[in-house]
Symmetry: C2
Subunit: 126 residues, 2 copies
Amino acid sequence: MESKDVEPNLYDRKCGSRQVLDRIGDRWSVLVVLTLAVAPKRYSELAQRIDGVSQKMLTQTLRGLERDGLVTRTVHATVPPRVDYALTDLGRSLLTLVAGLEAWATDHLAEVESARARYDNTRSPN
Amino acid sequence: MESKDVEPNLYDRKCGSRQVLDRIGDRWSVLVVLTLAVAPKRYSELAQRIDGVSQKMLTQTLRGLERDGLVTRTVHATVPPRVDYALTDLGRSLLTLVAGLEAWATDHLAEVESARARYDNTRSPN
């Protein structure tokens, strides 16, 4: 469902901005965008840097980012062919935001873990 | 797995910051935090404002936000009892970030939709 005539509105269930939010808030998208911030990378370099990502998930994430215009995939005519992933200008416009997500998640991890421990203690039986 | 002795690192599969990122990048969490930005709200007010959220998903999202220390749930001793949800200081520290996500998703929706159409056209058979 496209929204040409009305302003995009995240509160509207039919607005495509919700799918955009899903993309940019996604764990693996954030990590790929951050990893590509400095320079283009090959698939194997991304897989190595992003500890624990499965091949299936990395492939799916890269395809989604490419489809949404955030990442380009370039095949170089070398032997063997080399495939590079790079941020587009649109992808680059996300950098401040995803760096902010990373910073918040790491800066506040201890607070969140304490809150969870308190919550779980309060609610556990006995 | 907690990480007390090392700096939190989003690239490490064992680091809890990944779960924190999942929370703060989640579509429904973003919408709840944004909706609570101005004032505390009742469950029914949240459900009404966030078009399309199921009862199950809203309940689960609020419980997750409460557990992570981002939202408080207060039961008022009225008849019938009134239950309010409000942001904590920690939740409030997310506001700039989630407003940034909302702004990016709505400001760039048209660009993302164009990119998708191009991608799908290039790849469709025939």
